[in-house]
């Protein structure tokens, strides 16, 4: 095993607060080829009870990546980013992310194991709003492929 199992239980907060902007949501929606009015038109989103445009279900990954960056860059963990692949991803949305949200994210290392020579890293990212209420819980399994290939 390359990764140090004693890292289980560590937390990595994303730096600063992430302010969700309308144009970032639009940009993300365009990148996934989705022309829904919910992502572009505040009045259409408000007509359905939201405070502003809402974000696509996987937009939360932007927050997860910001928090993951701190983990990946931790020299003590010794993670080889070039060999890392994404194994699984899951989101639980307590409410949709909306433009105007000010979000924080903290990554928790939940598990480190080895399977067939590959290191498996399980992390949970908790995304909260300015009031501290949960918005999204994201779980990722990251695989660091062994070096003999």
């Amino acid at each position: 095993m390359v990764l140090d199992p004693s890292f289980v239980g560590r937390c990595y907060p994303a730096p600063g607060v992430y302010q969700v902007g309308r144009e970032k949501i639009r940009e993300f929606a365009e990148a996934i080829g989705d022309d829904s009015a919910f992502y572009r038109d505040p009045s259409a989103a408000r007509a359905c009870g939201y405070s502003d445009v809402i974000a696509p279900p996987t937009f939360a990954m932007i927050l997860v990546l910001r928090a993951q960056q701190a983990l990946i860059c931790d020299p003590e963990l010794g993670l080889d980013y070039g060999r890392m692949v994404h194994g699984t991803q899951a989101f639980t949305h307590h409410r949709p992310i909306q433009a105007g949200d000010e979000l924080g994210a903290t990554l928790h290392v939940e598990g480190i194991s080895t399977r067939a020579g590959h290191d498996m890293l399980t992390v949970r990212c908790q995304i909260t709003d300015a009031a501290g209420d949960p918005v999204t819980t994201a779980r990722s399994m990251l695989v660091v492929r062994r070096e003999d290939r």
Binding site: F28, A31, C48, G87
Partner: protein, 141 residues
């Protein structure tokens, strides 16, 4: 624009399918939008150096396309309360205007008494599955 109603949904129902052509330009655009600049998604040389056949798509782009199928059907993207996937096979995106064709399909796997429905999603490229155990849970009205 309104959210699909629980009474309109039946188990086993097929969602309208979705076919998406993913090109290298789409990967660059997704990299910028998501902040994931891992070079295996845009640099053929570096992708090959780590043992990949060619540039591969972000798994999260494939997951986003899978959920596009569901949000379009649900009528309101805020209806998705849970979604999960396993990335079983990389989506190789060759250079050129045609890129890689992804075929997405969804089925109502469960219609629950709590007003939610679980959609089972498949994503295939060239006949091979690229996502495993892909599901999204939708809160219906």
């Amino acid at each position: 624009m309104s959210r699909r109603h629980h009474s309109e949904v039946t188990e086993g129902e097929q969602l309208p399918g979705l076919q998406v052509c993913v090109t290298r330009a789409d990967l660059i655009r997704y990299a910028g939008a998501s902040g994931d600049f891992n070079p295996i998604h845009w640099n053929q040389r570096l992708a090959r150096e780590v043992g990949l056949p060619d540039v591969i798509a972000h798994g999260m782009l494939t997951m986003a396309l899978a959920n596009r199928l569901v949000t379009t059907w649900a009528g309101d993207p805020g209806a998705i309360v849970e979604c999960a996937v396993r990335f079983t096979r990389p989506l190789v995106v060759p250079d050129g205007p045609d890129g890689a064709l992804v075929e997405l399909a969804g089925t109502v796997a469960q219609r629950r008494d709590d007003g939610t429905a679980v959609i089972a999603i498949t994503a295939r490229c060239a006949g091979q599955s690229i996502l495993g155990q892909a599901t999204s849970t939708v809160a219906l009205t």
